[in-house]
Every structure is written in C-alpha cells, then in structure tokens.
C-alpha cells in the first residue's frame, strides 16, 4: 500500500468500479434504502405489503444480478472486492436462503403485522404502552430493511479482498442481527437479553478481529489478502506477528459461525431471537462467515498453515464434540437446534481443513444443504403453538406425529437430514466434507466427525420417537395453519433437502466448478 502511494502527490485517480460485479450488493442495499423510505413516508396500513414486496423483489433481482455477474468475474475496486467463483456461489446461496427467510419472517397468520415481531420495540415488555400498541395495530415493519442491510453485508463478507473491507462487511451484517434478535413478539425479556448478549460478545469478537488485522498489517505492511499471502513467502523473522494475527482474526470469524469455544452466545441468542430470525442467522450468517473464513484461509494465510492449523484442528474437534454432546441434554427445541448448528459448524470446519479445492467445494455444498434444512426447521418450530406462544419445550412436542402428521413428518425428515441419513442432503454434505478431509490428510477429524454425527443422530432420533411413539401430554398444543408464505418456505426447504440428497450431482458439480479462488 505504501509503495502504491508514493506517486500520489500528482493527481487523484478514481478507482475503477466494475459495476456488473458489485451489482448484487448495490441492488440489495438499494432495496434496503427504499425500505427505509417506505418506513418514513408510507402510511402504516400499506407498510407491511410494501416492505415485503420491496424485500422480495430486491432479493430476486439481486439473484439475477449474481447470475449476470458470472461474466464480470475479477478483482474490482483496486482489489477491495473480489468477485470470483466462491464469492458468486456463496452470494447466490445467501440470496436464495434469504428469500426463504424473508418469507418466513413475513408470516402473519391472521394478524395485521409480521407475527414473530413485537408491535413496538420501544415499549417495555408487559407495559400498558405495549398493549396499546398491539390494540392500535402497530407493527415493526423496520425488520425488513434491517434484514436487507444484513444481507448486503453478508454478500460483501465472502467477497472482501482485504481485511478492512472484511471488517466493515462483518459489522454491516452483524449490527442489524443484534437488533433483529431483540424484537421477538413473545417472551420479550428473553429476546432483549439475547440481543444484548449477542451485541456485547459480538463487539468483543470484532475487537479480536481488528487486533489480528492490525498485527497482520504490521507483518506485511498491507491489509490486502494477496499482499499478506506474498509476504508469507518473503518476510522473515516476523512470525511473532503473523501467527497471533491469524489466530486473532480467526477468533473474530469463528465467533460468527459459533465454533467452540466461541459458541457461548449461540444457544441463548438462538432461543431468544424471533424464530424466523434464528433460522436466518443459522443459515445465512453461517454461509457468509464460512465464505469469509475460506477466503482468509485459502487466499490470505494458507501458506503458513503449519503454524496455526493445529489450533483450528482443536477448534473443529471441540466444536463437533461439544455441539453433539451438549445437544443431548437440551429440553428446548430451539436450543437443541442451536447446539446442532454448533456441531454442524464443526463438520464444515473439517472440510475447510482439507486445504484443497475439494475442501472449498465441499464446504460450499454443506452450507447450502444445511441452510435450506435449517430455515425450514425453524419455520416449523414457529408453527407449533401452545395457547398464544410457541411450544418450544420438547415435552410439548410429544405425540405431534399423531395429531399433525404432515408437519411432524416434515420436521422428522429435516432431523434425519441433520443426522446425515442417506437420501437427504445431510448425508451428501457430510460425505463431501469427510471425504475431502480424508483425502487430504485430515482423517482424524473425519473420524471424530463420524463419531459426533452418531451422537447427534441419537438426539434427533429421540425427538422423532418423542413425536411419533409417545402419548401427548395435553391437547393444548397445536399447529397453527400457516399462510402461503411459511408454507412456501417450509416446502422449498424440505424439497431442497430431498433433491440435494437424491440428485446432488448438479449442485456438487457447480460447487466444484466455482471452487477456485482468484488470488
């Protein structure tokens, strides 16, 4: 960077922007800003429809822009944004999963606003102000522009070519998520606690990321991943900056995927956040964060991996084992799925640690498969109600298979996918990451992974047994008939889980064709 600045006293040359390559991000941010304007100027009655429309149209348009951007691949904005195969694949994934998430978030059953979100975020839980807001028909339609901003950050995260852009993307995707977590319409104190916890720990992990980025800047004299990679071969005597720098940046990134020991926020936040938001976080944030880790590790610091990969091995093993073992003791469906998501993060890390092109494609396939299943699973959780609130305690799910066979059947199928049973996407995905790990010297990780899957499978089967072979405790638990929105989200999620299990070849092929990072 310093070298490139020496001749700058003459005249400022504007950075070239390849608009075709950044169009998806521009569309999403544009839709978010239109959403803000709708919030400011549209009358309350039309806001819900307008916001959902703007969000969905924006996401579909951005997806098409991703398809168009295939012809605009390359590094743009002086290397700050790199649009290559993995970036485009993950951006497309994020957008597709976001459509499902927005559909689930927009569910309003027979109410006036999105059902999962509070009528007025500023009203104290249980206060007269809150009930007045509910009576007056207030809705928090701001959640849609907030979601769009988060999606915009997620699109940039795996495409960031330098650590500064990556950090800005990390903040842009995180800040709306902190707010969204705190806006649940029921059990609001739990939701607000989750939001605050996520915010504080997220800020903490961002500080780690920044500290690491500063050390890597000290090491290589640049924030650029490419320059850092070059410096690893030539710079000598500065490993004292490199290794801590890499590890600290990884702490910031691993926090986002909920890897052990940076996972402690996951169960609380997944439980407290509105259920569709939990699905959104579990699917899309993981996709974006794994994209960023892939780019950082494969493009940036991969050549020095002998120094820090053992730490990542330890994290992967801990993540799989702790996630699987702790999910046994859970009694709450959302917490169970949270620990399951931790275990899945560990499985994906084994693919990442293959340090090969196959590793990249297996990771990308895994996050797609897991994303579709998890959004559908959380959407189903939001349908099972006891009285007015969600019946998240496991005992309330007893006998659901008899009273509501279709919903319970779909959930059981998704659980089988999480367990990795053949003919579901979970099996193909697990097979891909484990075979990548075995093929490239990470066999112990794959062995631990298989054992952890077996433990996790026990948990999922227990839930299925509970739903089908246990007498229901009471008849107050029922499934609320969903509208077309949630039905579509669940149907697409379940269908993708089945399709990727039966005919995974096209997507695996696409993933392996787009697995090459631009350096």
């Amino acid at each position: 960077m310093i070298a490139s600045l020496s001749g700058l006293t003459t005249e400022f040359v504007a950075t070239k922007i390849n608009y075709g390559a950044v169009l998806p991000m521009l569309v999403v941010f544009g839709a978010a800003m239109i959403g803000v304007l709708v919030e400011a100027f549209a009358p309350r009655a039309v806001r819900y429809g307008a916001q959902v429309g703007v969000a969905l149209v924006g996401l579909v348009a951005a997806f098409m822009a991703v398809v168009l951007a295939v012809g605009h691949q390359g590094s743009t904005l002086a290397g700050a944004v790199v649009i290559d195969g993995p970036a485009l694949f993950l951006q497309g994934t994020i957008l597709a999963l976001s459509v499902l998430s927005v559909l689930a978030m927009a569910e309003r059953f027979d109410g006036i606003g999105a059902d999962a979100f509070t009528a007025q975020g500023a009203a104290a839980p249980g206060s007269p102000q809150e009930s007045a807001a509910v009576r007056a028909g207030a809705t928090t339609t701001e959640v849609f522009p907030l979601t769009m901003f988060a999606i915009g950050g997620m699109l940039l995260f795996p495409a960031a070519g330098d650590l500064l852009t990556m950090f800005v993307a990390l903040e842009v995707l995180s800040l709306p998520l902190y707010i969204l977590s705190g806006l649940a319409s029921r059990r609001r104190l739990l939701s607000q606690e989750a939001s605050l916890k996520y915010f504080l720990l997220g800020a903490f992990s961002s500080a780690f990321f920044l500290f690491g980025a500063a050390l890597l800047f000290g090491y290589s004299g640049s924030m650029d991943l490419g320059v850092i990679a070059k410096a690893i071969g030539t710079q000598s005597g500065m490993d004292g900056l490199l290794v801590p720098g890499v590890l600290l940046v990884l702490v910031g990134l691993l926090f986002k995927i909920g890897a052990v020991p940076f996972h402690s926020w996951t169960p609380d936040v997944y439980q407290g956040a509105p259920t569709p938001v939990t699905g959104f976080m579990a699917a899309c944030t993981k996709v974006a964060a794994f994209g960023a880790i892939l780019r950082f590790v494969y493009v940036g610091v991969g050549d020095s991996r002998w120094d820090w990969a053992p730490a990542l091995w330890a994290v992967a093993i801990l993540t799989m084992v702790v996630g699987a073992v702790l999910s046994i003791t859970q009694t709450d469906v959302k917490r169970l799925l949270a620990y399951s998501s931790i275990a899945h993060a560990g499985f994906v890390l084994t693919g990442l640690l293959a340090f090969d092109r196959v590793g990249v494609s297996s990771v990308m396939f895994y996050v797609v498969a897991y994303g579709f299943s998890t959004i559908a699973a959380f959407a189903i959780v939001s349908l099972v109600r006891d009285g007015g609130s969600e019946a998240t305690h496991l005992s309330q799910w007893a006998g659901l298979g008899r009273t509501h066979p279709i919903v319970a059947g779909a959930f059981a199928f998704l659980l089988l996918a999480f367990a990795g049973i053949p003919l579901t996407s979970g099996f193909t995905a697990k097979f891909a990451v484990f075979s990548a790990a075995i093929g490239h010297g990470a066999t112990p990780l794959a062995v631990v992974g298989v054992l952890a899957s077996a433990i996790a499978a026990f948990v999922y089967v227990r839930v299925i047994v509970l739903m089908y072979f246990t007498e229901s405790g009471g008849d107050s638990v029922r499934v609320v008939p969903p509208s077309i929105l949630t039905s579509a989200a669940v149907t697409i999620g379940v269908a993708m889980t089945l399709v990727l299990g039966v005919v995974p070849a096209p997507l695996l092929d696409l993933a392996s064709r787009s697995a090459l990072f631009l350096r």
């Binding site: 700058l8 040359v13 978010a32 500023a122 007056a136 907030l146 500065m238 900056l241």
Partner: protein, 255 residues
C-alpha cells in the same frame, strides 16, 4: 523511536496512559472511569500526532474525547452518577478464571510479538509527501471507497435501530385540554384538575405533596411516577417550619 524529542514525549505520556488504562479497570466510580478513559484517548491522540498522523490525532481527540466521552458522561448523568456496578460473582470462580486466562493471553501475545524482529520503520514521510490529509483522502476515496460507502449502510442501520428500540411512536392522537376537561366532568372527579404540589417557604418542588385541610399530605398532588419510585418528600419538616414561623409572628404581635 525516531528522534530524541519523540522518545521523551513517549516515556512521559506512555506511563500516564497506562495509569489511565489501569484506572479504567480498578476505579469503582463510573465518572472516574470516564475520566480515565478520556486520559487514555487524549494521550493516544498526542501519540498519533507525534508520529506524523495529524489528522488521525485530531480526529481521535475531537471524536473520542469530545463526542464519545461526552455521550458517555450524559449516560452516566441519566442513570445516576453514584451508580456503580455490582461486583457480586454470578458464576463461581469467574473472576479468578478470567484473570488467569487474560494474563495467559497477554503473556502469550507479549512473548510472540516480542520475539518478532522488526525491520527499520518506513515511516509516514513518504505517504505524507502530498500532505497528511491528502494521503488519507486518496485512501478513503481511492482504494477503500467501497468500504467507505458501505459504512453508510452501517450508519443507516444504527439510525433505524435507534428508532426501533427507543422511539415510542404515538399511536393515538394526544387529547386536547378541552377533551381532558370534558373527561373530568364525565367522570365527576377532580373537576378543577389535580391539586398542585405543596408550596412551602423553603420548598416548592414537585416531589413535596401539598397538605389537605386536615393537615395530611395529599397523594394526588405529586406525580404518580415519583410515588412509584418512592422519591416523594415528606412535607412535615417544611410545614412544621412554616407553622413555627407563623407562631413566632403571632406571638410577636401579641407581645
């Protein structure tokens, strides 16, 4: 260390900022913590300026010490200057475990970074050739223009979030004076409005109730919120003092 003057500056200010940083951790009162933070921030600003990064130094002082610290102090004023954190451990052994782990991390980082051999610093002379601020501008609007633009999304999110979490939109029209009055007559209570708080010779604040004809304090004359917070004053001393003065005056006239 490039020059002797810079070394002197560093060795004077570095201990001061370390003391300020330690104060952040060890001092109990929130205002003192804020002051400690301000000391650290100002020192950092001076360090930046000493290292040829004038713009960064000024921004550090203006933004952090000026704006952020002022917000910090405002928040302290709102929640009460006297409030201090509860130091009760909710998880047993957390303090010791945290201390051990953070010391371990600190030692590991010190050892690792200390073992690095640094090349001679390039310095900012070259970058600052066209002026410090010009150099910054070239970076912000050149290479990092995308990060700069995307930061605006962050600011909009922050504004939106503040509105969502803190703005209580009025959902029903505010009743007018006339409507209040009509409502009082319909109910048939407090026709002339609620009584005003007590006015005494030595106090006329809203937290001191007025006295009813029989001498008891009227609860209706103080705001509900103060009653709920138990911040209502006892009017007896003020009323008593007033009665004493009245008595003295009366006795004086009798004499």
């Amino acid at each position: 260390m490039t020059s002797g003057g810079e070394a002197v500056l560093f060795w004077i200010l570095a201990p001061v900022s370390v003391l300020g940083a330690l104060g952040l951790l060890l001092v109990r009162k929130a205002v003192h913590v804020a002051l400690g933070m301000a000391v650290v921030m100002i020192n950092l600003g001076i360090f930046y300026i000493a290292q040829n990064a004038e713009f960064l130094g000024i921004v550090q002082i203006v933004v952090y010490t000026g704006a952020v610290m002022m917000l910090f102090i405002f928040v302290l004023m709102l929640i009460g200057v006297d409030s201090s954190d509860s130091l009760v451990e909710t998880i047993k052994g957390q303090k010791i475990a945290g201390l051990l782990l953070s010391t371990g991390l600190g030692v590991a980082l010190f050892a690792a970074i200390g073992s690095a051999t640094f090349a001679s610093p390039i310095g900012l002379k070259e970058v600052n050739a066209g002026g410090n601020i010009t150099g910054m501008a070239v970076l912000i609007f050149g290479k990092y223009v995308w990060a700069f633009e995307v930061t605006s999304a962050l600011l909009i999110t922050a504004a939106l979030a503040a509105m969502v979490l803190a703005h209580r939109e009025r959902l029903t029209p505010r009743p007018t004076q006339r409507q209040w009055s009509e409502r009082r007559f319909q109910v048939g209570k407090n026709l002339a409005g609620l009584p005003a708080p007590g006015v005494y010779a030595r106090r006329n604040a809203v937290d001191t109730p007025a006295l009813l004809p029989d001498g008891t304090p009227s609860e209706a004359s103080v705001p509900r919120v103060l009653t709920a917070r138990e911040q209502v004053n006892d009017p007896e001393p003020y009323a008593g003092a007033e009665r004493a003065i009245e008595r003295e005056i009366e006795e004086g006239t009798n004499r």
